[in-house]
Every structure is written in structure tokens, then in C-alpha cells.
């Protein structure tokens, strides 16, 4: 590696001269010179070409009346110059409802499950007994390893008419305990969000824990000398130290606002509570997989991706403008 590096430095032409040559020629020269580095890069490039870019032609399905037997190219274009599926989604009777539910569930999930692991990490960071710390950590990330199907059947039992959660709420006088909580519209979002918290809080705290261990201990010392208490230290040292990680994860999370996985939804919902539980992905699941309307579901998926992408751009822009930090 060092050899090629040296070679490049040695033969590097003057900047002005370089720009006159075309990109192709420059690339060719560079290839010859640094073939080792390119060779190392090749598998990565191949990976992205094969698994990220090549499948993208499948997006065409969104504009077509796709039938598997005819394939992507041969299938005919839909009505309205290929935008038929998009129009029928926007005009659909359920469009407003599934969009609203998606946003409601997504934002409440973000609101509850995003800060929770940060707090857990901060608290665990202050725990002095390693034994206790490890036990709490292990217990809290255990649910992450349970399959979603099992999680959901457990949840269904917890919130059934005789379930433990229902019993608890009954004691508090919130419900009367004759019905499963899943047959009541108002309970779906809380069930979804808080079970999500239980599932993810421990696992997501790990990344913050590791970021915490990277904070310079000297800063704490200095803060202590300046007379900062535990809380002040947390506020002025720990949080700023975590900020880059938090911002990065937040921006990534915002990029998933529109996409709530259908798995957990369809494992939990039933026809009666569609009005709060049916989201874009479960709607697409029913249309696409149960009714085999591939084109329609791809169109909705594409719509989701575009919105998500725009949200990421926006979030990044805002964060760069306001706190001068961003993904790029």
C-alpha cells in the first residue's frame, strides 16, 4: 500500500493540467497506478451493483400491470401513462386512513423508543456495580432475540381479556376486563409502541454505551474540579459527547418514518381495529400479497421510499443548519 501511495505522490501532475484530461483517461491512468486498491474495492462495488442497483429496475413494476409470467419488460404499462397505480392509491378510500395511521404510529414510536435507550445508557453508565449493570443489560436486550411471531403471540396473551396487562389496567379502573385490548381501537397504538420499547430498548442502548466509553475521562475530571455535580457532568460532558451518535441515529430513524414493517401489525391487528391499526405496509401486504396486485404494492413502496428519502435530506439539512452536525 505504501508503495502505491508513494508512487501516486511522485507522479501526481499539477492540478491545472489534470483537469484538462478527460475523466476516462485519468481513471485509466489511476487504475494502472493503483490497481491494488481498486482490486480491494471490487467486491464492494460488485455487491452494490448486484444487490442494490441491479434490482432497481424492478421499480418499473410500479408503472406496469405486472404479471410474473410475462416478466418486467413484457408486462404492459398501466393506465394514465404508467401512473395508474399511484393514482388509484391516492384516490383509494383508505389512503387518508393508512397514511394517518402510519404517521401516528411512526411518530409515537419515535417519541417513545428513541430517547429511552439514551436514558437507559446514561443511567447504566452511572451504575457502579458491574454485576448489576450486566444483569440489567442482559435482561433488557433479551426480547431482541425472541422471534417477532413469538413476541406477538405473547403480546396477544398479555392483552387478552384475562391477560396480565388487561388485569393490571382493570385494577386501575381503565378497562372492565371483558374484552381483549386488541379489540379496542384506542389501545392499539400504545400496545404497539410500548411493546416496541420493550423489544428494542436494551439492544439500542448498546451503541450508546459504547459511545459513552469513548468519552475522555479527563473531561469528567476537569468538570469535577470545576465543581460540577453528577447532573451537571451528565449535561455538559456526557450529552455533548453522545450528540454525534444521537444525531446520526436520529437522522437514520427519520428516514424510516414512512415505513413501519407490516409483520408486527398484521400479527396484532384484526378487522375491527383497522381504523387505527391499518398502516401503509399492511395495506400493501393485503393488496400485493393476498390479492397479488404486484404493481400496486410496488408503486406504494416506491412512494414510501421517495418520501423517506426526502425526509432524510430534510433532517440532515436542518441538523446542519441548526447544530452544525449532519450525516454529510
Amino acid at each position: 500500500m505504501r508503495k502505491t501511495d508513494n508512487a501516486r505522490h511522485a507522479k501526481l501532475p499539477a492540478p491545472g493540467k489534470q483537469s484538462k484530461q478527460s475523466f476516462g483517461i485519468r481513471l485509466g491512468k489511476d487504475l494502472k497506478r493503483n490497481y491494488g486498491a481498486y482490486l480491494l474495492f471490487l467486491p464492494v462495488a460488485l455487491y452494490y451493483i448486484l444487490f442494490a442497483y441491479k434490482p432497481m429496475y424492478g421499480i418499473l413494476v410500479a408503472f406496469k400491470d405486472f404479471t410474473p409470467a410475462k416478466g418486467v419488460w413484457e408486462s404492459p404499462w398501466t393506465s394514465s401513462y404508467g401512473f395508474g397505480h399511484f393514482i388509484s392509491f391516492f384516490k383509494s378510500f383508505y389512503f387518508g386512513r393508512v397514511l394517518k395511521n402510519t404517521l401516528v404510529i411512526s411518530f409515537s414510536t419515535l417519541l417513545v423508543t428513541f430517547p429511552a435507550p439514551i436514558m437507559l445508557a446514561l443511567l447504566l453508565n452511572e451504575v457502579r456495580s458491574t454485576k448489576f449493570k450486566r444483569t440489567v443489560q442482559t435482561l433488557s436486550y433479551m426480547p431482541h432475540f425472541i422471534s417477532l411471531v413469538v413476541i406477538c403471540s405473547m403480546l396477544r396473551l398479555f392483552v387478552a381479556d384475562s391477560g396480565i396487562v388487561t388485569g393490571f389496567l382493570e385494577k386501575l379502573g381503565i378497562v372492565d376486563g371483558t374484552y381483549s385490548l386488541l379489540s379496542m381501537e384506542n389501545f392499539f397504538v400504545p400496545i404497539y409502541v410500548f411493546s416496541g420499547l420493550w423489544q428494542t430498548v436494551g439492544w439500542n442502548a448498546i451503541i450508546y454505551m459504547s459511545a459513552l466509553s469513548g468519552i475522555d475521562q479527563g473531561l469528567y475530571e476537569a468538570a469535577r474540579i470545576d465543581g460540577a455535580g453528577k447532573l451537571k457532568q451528565m449535561w455538559h460532558v456526557t450529552l455533548p459527547g453522545l450528540m454525534p451518535t444521537i444525531i446520526m441515529l436520529l437522522i437514520l430513524r427519520i428516514g424510516q418514518i414512512m415505513s413501519i414493517g407490516h409483520e408486527k401489525i398484521i400479527l396484532l391487528y384484526n378487522e375491527e381495529i383497522y381504523s387505527t391499526a391499518d398502516v401503509i405496509s399492511s395495506f400493501v401486504y393485503r393488496k400485493g400479497l393476498l390479492e397479488y396486485n404486484w404493481g400496486f404494492s410496488t408503486a406504494v413502496g416506491l412512494f414510501n421510499s421517495v418520501i423517506n428519502f426526502m425526509l432524510v435530506l430534510m433532517a440532515n439539512q436542518i441538523s446542519r443548519k441548526t447544530i452544525y452536525m449532519g450525516l454529510w
Binding site: A69, E185, Y274
Partner: protein
């Protein structure tokens, strides 16, 4: 690697050549057999359908298939695994039925098993399909078999192809207009080897099931209970006098069945919640005013605590548990799955008996307007795919189920093992009826037959009579059968291709709404005062257009 590729190429060439050869052979026959252009063949056969079967087997040697078929070619066969046997066997060809079918037809099968219907759809999305697929396209493929022809999945068969390669099946198709129409598309192409109900009685067999012994205890005669009031009184006496926790248990799917099969709608003047026809005019039950009264009745039962409070979140296992444990006294189900399974499971329990309850009616002793009923052609169809390289062989293989010998094999299995001839009538053996390993009748049957499920043959009433052999089941069957459903039943119509996308989108959106609102109305989370708004919403969702599309397809069916 290279060797393998070479092998592949060789195989492909060989296959291509055989396909070419057989096609040529066929072409030759076309010239001699009929001078009519291809398109007219089906039409002309329809006109003199009675003459066709006599004509076909006559002089042409290619028109009758002799089994076992000579040759060593393999066919690939796509099929979803069935829970009934997949716990004991890996492949259908390991089962006695699979082995016997191969032996009798002389065709070696290579199974392509998928886990379930969803997986089958993924298989259908792949370019390389098995030669034959047994699948319920009607329920699990958007647009059914007809769309699958359009999509290029299914190879459509014309009259001539069938006369040549599946004469016995062709004869069955021509025996009844409804069978023929149920197995063809609008262009009179036959889409596959269909599962055919041999007898009208087989088409029925679903209804309410009730704890007979409890009724007796209360001095009620089950056979006399058939009005909405009597049914209500029975449930409330279960609750008040026998302290039954959940007098009637069911799932939201069961509720749909009760309404769509018209089991509880007759007293209120509603034929069914589903689509039905009256003298050729299409009606949709859930958009009719009478539906309100049905909902009001159910809501009343619900409010009185007579219905399962959690039916919306129940699953079938809960219902079964409730019925077996005595937590509930009434449920609903099919002849085999409901009353049959429950009786069999609890056969050693003392004081446990079940009986079928007549569909609810307006006046005691009436026939109910509607009831569970099947079309002549239903369920899974064995189709030849376009990937199949030897379509003639596939057709000859599938034709076997419609021969007398094949019928016996698919319905009763292997003589001496799964059935014996007693006084000239086939009788299932002890292995099937009282399995030494404790298998249920259905599970035991699944090893030797396809008649417990669907397949390419004509179903036999004797199979149903024997598998539903408990006297309670047979009585229930007769009670449930007391309907005028034939008058209202919509035949197996085919939606026009141009309307298909609109139809399925309208239907699914509206069905979702109807099911959601039905549960809400029954549970009272939505007041029935809003029923008019519900109707107005249906109107705005395009119920008018939906009716129009179905009407057009119905007209086309009767005119075809």
C-alpha cells in the same frame, strides 16, 4: 460445472425435439380428425355436446388413453404441503396414494412442494414452473384460472386437445352444462382438470352446531328450534339456567360465514349477506336494508352476553377449546371440521353430544332462503403450465382421475389397504375409519386418497357419507340441507378481463369496509343509527359499479 451445463443443454435439446415431435403428430391428427378451423371446435362441440362423447372414443386410436402409459418420462408436480400428512411424510410421492398413482399411470412424478398457498404464489412468480400444478386459483390467485391463462401461467386446452389426450375428462365436462362452464373461460378454453362435485348433496354441509345434551336437559327439542326468537331463547337459557360462560362462540371468520352462507339471515328477509341472484338479476346482501335487522339481532345477542365477547380476536383453536370444554354451547362449522372433529375428540367424554341446528327462518318449519352451497366445479384445479414440455403426457396423466379405475383410486385409495368391496360397494377399512395409530379419519385418508381434499377427479357422495359416518353428522347434514339456496345461488361466473382489475380492487376495498363495520355494528362500537351512513359510504365506494360488473358476468354466463 462444464459437464453439468452440457448435460443441461442436451436435455433442453432433447426436450425441445420431443415437444416438436408431439406437436407435429398432433398437427397431423388435426387434419384427419376435423376439417374445421381451430377456433370453432369448442363452439361446435358445445352445440351438440351430447354427441361429442360418443364421437370421440370411436375410431381414432389416439383418443383413448391406456394405462399405464408407456415411456419413461418424468413430470414435475407442484403442490402445497398439507398438514394432514406433512408431519409424517416428506413428499406426496412417499404416500401410498402417490406411489399408486405413479404405478397405475406409468408416469414418474417429481414433486415440487411448497409450504402453503402464499408460497405457491411465489412459485407462480418464478419463470420455471412445474409441469402440473394443483392449486386453488379461484381463492388464491387474483382473477382465478382465467387470469392465469391470460398471464401465461396456465396452458389453455381446446376441445381437440382434450378429445385426443383426456377423453374421459372430456366426457365428464360434456355431461353437464354447469361443469363445462365452470371449467372454461369465456373463449370456451378449458383451463384445467377441475374438482367436480358429483352429487348435489356434496355441495352442502355447513351450519350451526349445538350441545344437544344441554337442550335435552332444558327440555328443548333441537329439531324444533329454527326461528330467531327460539334461538335467542335457547342461548339465554344456556346462560341463565346452565351458567354457560359464553353461550355461542365463534371467530370473525365464522361470523362472515354465518352471514355469507345465509345461516342466520332468513328471519329478516335477507337471502344472504353475499352476492346472490334472483331470476338472473344480481343482488348484494350487505348493501340491502334488511341487513340492518340482522345486525340489530346480533347486536342484541351480543349485548345480552350471549355471543363471544372476543370473537373479533378469537382464533379457531379458541373456538374448538370452548366447544370441547363446555365453556360454550353453540358454534358453527362444516360437517367434517366442526361437529365431526369435536364429536370425535370428545367421544370418550360422558354427557357430550352435538347436533346440527336448522338455519334460522322466519316461520317455524320453513326452508331457509339460503344456505351453504358449492358450485359444481370448485376448489383446487390441476393445471398444465406453459413450462410443461410434454403437455400431452400431462393431460393423459391427469385424465386418469376421471376414469373408473382412477376415480376409485383418488376417492377410496388402494383396495385391500384403504378400502374393501363389501356387497359390491367400496367400504373404507379400519385403517381409515379407526386408525390403529390414532390418526383422525382425515389424516388417515390423506395417505391413501385425495378425496379428503380436492383433486383432478369427480367427488363421490359415498366418500362423504362414510367419512361423516357418525349418525349425528348425517342428521345434521340433512337439517342444514333444508334450504332453497339453488334459487338464489350465483353460478361460477367469470369476470370479464377488462373489468378484472377494477372488480378486484372494488371488491376488496368494499369487503374490508363491510367486515370492519359488521364487527362494529355487532359489538355496538358503532351505533346502528349510522346504518344509513354505512349504506351511503358503500354507494360512494362504488357498490353500483361492482353490481354492474357482476351482472355483466352473470349475463355472459347464462348466454355462453
Amino acid at each position: 460445472m462444464k459437464k453439468e451445463i452440457r448435460k443441461c443443454i442436451a436435455l433442453c435439446i432433447a426436450a425441445g425435439m420431443t415437444a416438436g415431435l408431439t406437436a407435429c403428430g398432433n398437427g397431423g391428427n388435426t387434419g384427419t380428425a376435423s376439417s374445421e378451423p381451430q377456433g370453432n371446435v369448442a363452439a361446435s362441440n358445445k352445440e351438440d355436446s351430447s354427441a361429442a362423447p360418443e364421437e370421440t372414443p370411436a375410431p381414432d386410436t389416439g383418443a383413448s388413453v391406456t394405462y399405464p402409459i408407456q415411456g419413461t418420462e418424468k413430470l414435475t408436480f407442484g403442490m402445497a404441503l398439507a398438514n394432514e400428512w406433512s408431519d409424517r411424510f416428506d413428499s406426496w410421492t412417499d404416500l401410498p396414494i402417490g406411489r399408486a398413482v405413479q404405478e397405475k399411470t406409468g408416469v414418474e412424478l417429481e414433486m415440487v412442494h411448497v409450504a402453503d398457498n402464499k408460497a405457491m404464489n411465489l412459485l407462480l412468480a418464478s419463470p420455471d414452473l412445474p409441469d402440473i400444478i394443483l392449486f386453488n386459483f379461484q381463492n388464491n390467485y387474483s382473477g382465478g384460472e382465467i387470469k392465469a391463462i391470460e398471464d401465461g401461467v396456465i396452458f389453455p386446452m381446446d376441445a381437440e386437445f382434450l378429445q385426443q389426450n383426456a377423453p374421459d375428462y372430456w366426457e365428464v365436462l360434456n355431461s353437464d352444462e354447469n361443469i363445462m362452464k365452470g371449467s372454461t373461460n369465456q373463449q370456451n378454453q378449458v383451463f384445467g382438470f377441475t374438482f367436480i362435485m358429483g352429487d348435489d348433496k356434496i355441495k352442502t354441509g355447513y351450519g350451526l352446531t349445538v350441545r344437544d345434551d344441554w337442550c335435552e336437559q332444558l327440555g328443548l327439542d333441537v329439531t324444533q328450534i329454527d326461528t330467531a326468537e327460539e334461538f335467542h331463547d335457547m342461548l339465554s337459557r344456556f346462560k341463565s339456567e346452565l351458567n354457560v360462560e359464553i353461550p355461542m362462540t365463534f371467530t370473525s371468520k365464522n361470523l362472515e360465514e354465518l352471514l355469507d352462507y345465509g345461516t342466520i339471515t332468513s328471519p329478516f328477509g335477507l337471502v344472504t349477506r353475499d352476492v346472490y341472484q334472483k331470476d338472473g338479476t344480481v343482488h348484494i346482501g350487505y348493501a340491502e336494508k334488511e341487513y340492518r335487522d340482522v345486525l340489530a339481532y346480533l347486536n342484541q345477542l351480543y349485548n345480552e352476553g350471549l355471543l363471544d365477547a372476543n370473537f373479533a380476536t378469537n382464533d379457531a383453536a379458541t373456538v374448538t377449546a370452548n366447544m370441547l370444554s363446555g365453556a360454550s354451547g353453540v358454534s358453527t362449522g362444516a360437517l367434517g371440521g366442526g361437529i365431526g372433529t369435536w364429536l370425535q375428540t370428545n367421544r370418550d367424554v360422558k354427557d357430550y353430544s352435538l347436533a346440527g341446528l336448522h338455519n334460522l327462518v322466519a316461520n317455524g318449519g320453513d326452508k331457509s332462503l339460503y344456505g351453504f352451497y358449492k358450485t359444481d366445479v370448485i376448489g383446487k384445479t390441476a393445471v398444465i403450465t406453459n413450462s410443461c414440455e410434454n403437455k400431452e403426457l400431462a393431460a393423459q396423466f391427469l385424465n386418469y382421475g376421471y376414469t373408473d379405475e382412477g376415480h376409485m383410486l383418488y376417492v377410496f385409495g388402494v383396495e385391500g389397504e384403504s378400502y374393501e368391496m363389501v356387497n359390491g360397494e367400496p367400504q373404507y377399512t379400519e385403517y381409515i375409519m379407526h386408525n390403529p395409530d390414532g390418526l383422525t379419519v382425515k389424516k388417515a385418508m390423506s395417505e391413501y386418497t385425495l378425496s379428503w381434499d380436492n383433486g383432478p377427479f369427480v367427488q363421490d357422495l359415498r366418500q362423504k357419507l362414510q367419512s361423516a359416518s357418525m349418525p349425528e353428522q348425517l342428521t345434521a347434514w340433512d337439517i342444514w340441507d333444508d334450504t332453497t339456496v339453488e334459487e338464489y345461488f350465483l353460478p361460477k361466473i367469470a369476470i370479464a378481463q377488462k373489468d378484472l382489475a377494477e372488480y378486484s380492487s372494488l371488491r376488496s376495498d368494499i369487503k374490508t369496509y363491510v367486515n370492519e363495520m359488521t364487527i362494529k355494528f355487532v359489538r355496538g362500537t358503532e351505533s346502528l343509527d349510522h346504518f344509513d351512513e354505512y349504506l351511503a359510504t358503500l354507494e360512494s365506494m362504488g357498490i353500483g359499479r361492482l353490481t354492474e360488473i357482476i351482472q355483466a358476468a352473470t349475463d355472459e354466463y347464462y348466454a355462453r
